[in-house]
Symmetry: C2
Subunit: 327 residues, 2 copies
Amino acid sequence: MSKIRIGIAGYGNLGKGVEMAIRQNDDMELVCVFTRRDPASVSIKTPGVEVVSMDDMASMKDKIDVVILCGGSATDLPEQTPAVAKYFPVIDSFDTHANIPVHFANVDKVCKENGTIAMISVGWDPGMFSLNRIYAESILRQGSTYTFWGKGVSQGHSDAIRRIKGVKNAIQYTVPVEAALEAVRNCENPELTTRQKHTRECYVVAEEGADKAAIEAEIVNMPNYFSDYDTTVTFMEEDEFKATHNKMPHGGFVMRSGVTGAGTNQMIEYSLKLGSNPEFTACVLVAYARAAARMVAEGQTGARTVFDVAPSYLSPLSGEELRAHLL
Amino acid sequence: MSKIRIGIAGYGNLGKGVEMAIRQNDDMELVCVFTRRDPASVSIKTPGVEVVSMDDMASMKDKIDVVILCGGSATDLPEQTPAVAKYFPVIDSFDTHANIPVHFANVDKVCKENGTIAMISVGWDPGMFSLNRIYAESILRQGSTYTFWGKGVSQGHSDAIRRIKGVKNAIQYTVPVEAALEAVRNCENPELTTRQKHTRECYVVAEEGADKAAIEAEIVNMPNYFSDYDTTVTFMEEDEFKATHNKMPHGGFVMRSGVTGAGTNQMIEYSLKLGSNPEFTACVLVAYARAAARMVAEGQTGARTVFDVAPSYLSPLSGEELRAHLL
């Protein structure tokens, strides 16, 4: 059987993660990287991969089966996904939860007009966490669902600290509160405030001579980002910072505490402990690229989310193999 | 919209669990219980439910949308599922893993000949655990998957103890070894023997004057059931036994420890802590009955497993609601 030919759009951390994930799937091959930079300036690790300007995407129409978009949700994907869906089956990791309905509608329209398919909001939240929410809530109809994030790096919060005057470098970890996790696990159905669910740990390198007390005060009192949380700020030297905070770990928990029959407690818990957030997200994108290729072969068109994809579409194994070995 | 009309076949612990689960789903109604006993002898808790002999099942053809089979995998389901699939869309919880391929083929043939649909092996293992295995293995292509069971009651092992001479009553709990769980969580990829994964805890009421030392020796040395495990045997009085061991808890863990990129550890863990095994299994069966009704409406026929069902089919919510609230 011929391999699924993948194009990557955007060659940052996520795009490089997709490149590495494709190497772990021998029914796929990376054919092309699309970039907004000068293609001549982009060097791809995998041999034989073309680098093509985003402006010339349509020229690759017959050489690629699925395009995986690796841009950001703030400005890239709202434009890119509908634009690319004109020509290619496409996967994105659009993660601005509040804007998903609008994004879905925009992409669905383009897909139907052009006979293509798109899977939006693929990753782990939205993505694997969403799947666990829908399965758990469909099974345990009476109950409470909790989502916790971390321990992991929040880029948005790290950026907010780095914009403070006197800050040279900074990273922020979101950390779930262990006591809250335990209360949920014990089926206590707690009502949890923002502060009770997560703490925020900040590691900061200050500019020489900067007022550290002022920086700390500005962080912990920052509205929306930190003022609703218990926040700790630790200053450190740049060498130590670079040696200890150079990874992008993340993860979290989806838990549903339910009641069945005459008051029987039932507990479902799903958790991820990710050494690298972008590398894991990339693996999810690649599995859904396989699903997209199969749905295209069936003649399906339109926008999809993880909710619309039967699990068997994600696996390289046949139905017989799945039933014999994984069921 | 009219409600999904459900028939239950078999009114033991699982059947009663399905009855209770249907009450938590307001898009469904219990119409009928099929029994092998004299229908006049079976009293159903829900008002207005017909009790019909299994022999007269076909007479209910136009009154029921989906039949949920609540019999056992050893002798009931291999006969019942294909027989019932002649007339009705049907769900079963067939859980003899090694015989799933044959059971699937038998049921699939009947479904296709009669234009019906069947979902086999629905529950938590096979079922929710299978789903977690396929998702985790499709995403983390390089890695190891571990399944642990418990703490929970094994009916088969409890029965084996009760057959020993001098045993009046007994229950057996399968318990995962905490050190093994921790080694997996720490991405140590341990190779675990049977003994290293689970222990077996037995609680026994002996007949008066029975030789307890002999009973204990017979249990711990029993081949297949206990000799490969570290087994503890605790004798107790009948009153205490009845007061403390009258529930059917179960649960377990599916874990996948994977490696991405250049040696990054990634960990996925799913766990269930079930106050009642039959009540939880019943909830899963009911969610898949909803999926079956929808697939019938689409004109689908044939045998299916949880691998073949897109998650959106399980939820009473619309696609718009799911994307807005659960994605």
